[in-house]
Amino acid sequence: MSPDPQLRFEASGVALSLEVAGLGPRALAALVDAVILFVCWVMGLVLYSVAGDLLREVQALSVAGQLAAVIAVLLSGWGWDVAWEVLGRGQTPGKRALGLRVVRSDGAPVGLAESLVRNLLRAVEVPLGYAPGVLAVALSPRRQRLGDLVAGTLVVRERRYDLSRYDPAAGADPRFASLRGRAGALLAAGEFERLADFLDRRAELDAAPRARIAALLSAALSARAGSPAPDRDLAEPFLEALVAAYAEGR
């Protein structure tokens, strides 16, 4: 299966797209929700036991109280996801934590009917250990489980973007001032993004591979600029200056 399928839809004449979420984040989100629900139940039971004899309490409840008990169980068993998805714009707490969102296949937020269907279909998935759901997510082009296919919904992932990479860096190395005004011609837009990604994440790399990548990149790019490759210790300052010059525009 191809990575990162997209949901494409059109709204007021503009083509929009959202990234479809894969199995991993969705399973994690479900786990987060299950833990929260479990903690809620344990806390409720503990509070109840502190207050007194559980069985007698329930037996002594009025009709309204028993109604509340019935509704509480129904809500936690089936309604947790539905309520959160409808009122929370497609996000349960677990999905919110993972940056996931349920949307209709036309990009609109899920309504009560869609949420009800996609969650009720867990009835066939849960007893089989979610196997049909996992298979359907893996095989369907838009990563839909059975409930999603029937309800016409899917789960999208919201990425965190950092627009500050487009800010001109203040302390660009003056030795590479000649790059200013030329960077736009040296880099394609996609190359700029990957270069900025490397600079953002280089602190996570080990020293040796980090230096090797920087040297390779700076050699290739300085060749494009028609200048000799910078020294090894100047490779990263060169790349920084290039990114800064590109972000600055001409």
């Binding site: 937020p109 029937v150 996609g190």
Partner: protein
């Protein structure tokens, strides 16, 4: 689309483009997340709409000039979220639930009467089969009636008595949960081209028919029908509705018409959802009746019967007479 202001030309690069527009994008993102969590003033809603249109224009420009950049991805995401937020405001929340109850659910019900007939046929066949089997050969009860029920009946009382005197509240919620699960399964198994739905309807009918006749033969007919009188009609009705919804799904798979199967499934799934939106609250109500009224000896059989049949009749009358306007 947005000819206002000195827009960045293509030549000046993605950095200048982002710097020129970033403030308004981030304002848009902030307004959108406030739609999620709270309310906006009228001015802010207008601002949201204006910013969304500008962002949509910016997105079109980013697509053309800077494809594959984070700027394009960010804009696409913000615009899609804003579209969702604006769309939802037009759609309405509680009003939609009201429309569902008044128009959409009865209309879906009436549009799929053949599916209901099919569900009824399987349930009735099960009922008749179970009843006939036990009536003709009492030994059939060994196979068809659950052991705990047989033990209780052999001891001369209904299995429900011990169960319910323990904790009515708990039993009520357990019953509701069980019924909702069973109904959800009847619906969901429509995906097996209807085979699973048909089997579950038949099997439940078989069980009910066998238990009823087994109680009758052992002189417990009165208590049994007294017990099911209050909640039975509503519960069976909801179960039938879930079966109807299941066959609606199956119909989309068996005969998708001119649509691809996936699209037909999504469209009919929406119709089936309207039936489920009726069935689930009715099941909750039936469970409440079962826990509170059915098990309580203070209510006579007549009271239970009137309550149960009244509720069932009201449900069918509403589904058959309501609607008239086609749901959107």
């Amino acid at each position: 689309m947005t000819a206002d202001g000195p827009g960045p030309s293509r030549a000046s690069g993605v950095g200048a483009f982002v710097r020129a527009r970033r403030t308004s994008w981030e304002r848009l993102a902030e307004l959108v997340s406030r739609v999620d969590s709270g309310r906006l003033s009228l001015d802010e809603v207008e601002e949201l709409d204006r910013l969304y249109r500008r962002a949509a224009g910016d997105l079109a420009r980013a697509r053309a000039a800077f494809p594959g950049t984070d700027a394009e991805g960010y804009l696409s995401q913000v615009a899609a979220r804003a579209y969702g937020a604006l769309y939802r405001r037009r759609r309405g929340g509680l009003g939609a639930a009201l429309r569902l109850a008044r128009d959409a659910a009865p209309a879906a019900f009436q549009a799929h009467l053949p599916a209901l007939g099919l569900a009824f046929a399987f349930l009735a066949a099960g009922l008749a089969g179970g009843a006939l089997a036990v009536a003709l050969d009492p030994l059939a009860a060994q196979a068809l009636v659950p052991p705990e029920v047989r033990d209780a009946v052999a001891a001369g009382h209904l299995w429900t008595e011990g169960l319910l005197s323990a904790a009515p509240g708990f039993t009520g919620s357990a019953i509701a949960h069980n019924n909702v699960s069973a109904s959800a399964l009847v619906f969901a198994l429509g995906l097996t081209f209807g085979a699973g739905t048909a089997w579950l309807l038949f099997a439940n009918g078989l069980l009910l028919g066998a238990v009823a006749v087994h109680c009758l033969r052992n002189g417990l007919g009165g208590p049994f029908f007294g017990f099911v009188a209050a909640h039975g009609p509503a519960e069976l009705s909801a179960f039938l509705l879930a079966g109807q919804a299941g066959f609606v799904l199956a119909g989309a798979l068996v005969d998708p018409g001119e649509w691809p199967r996936g699209a037909a499934l999504a469209a009919r799934g929406r119709e089936a959802a309207r039936l489920l939106a009726v069935a689930v609250p009715v099941l909750a109500l039936a469970a409440l009746l079962e826990a509170v009224i059915s098990a309580d000896a203070r209510f006579g059989a007549a009271v239970k019967g009137v309550a149960g049949l009244g509720l069932g009749a009201a449900l069918w009358a509403w589904l058959l007479s309501g609607g008239g306007r086609t749901p959107r």
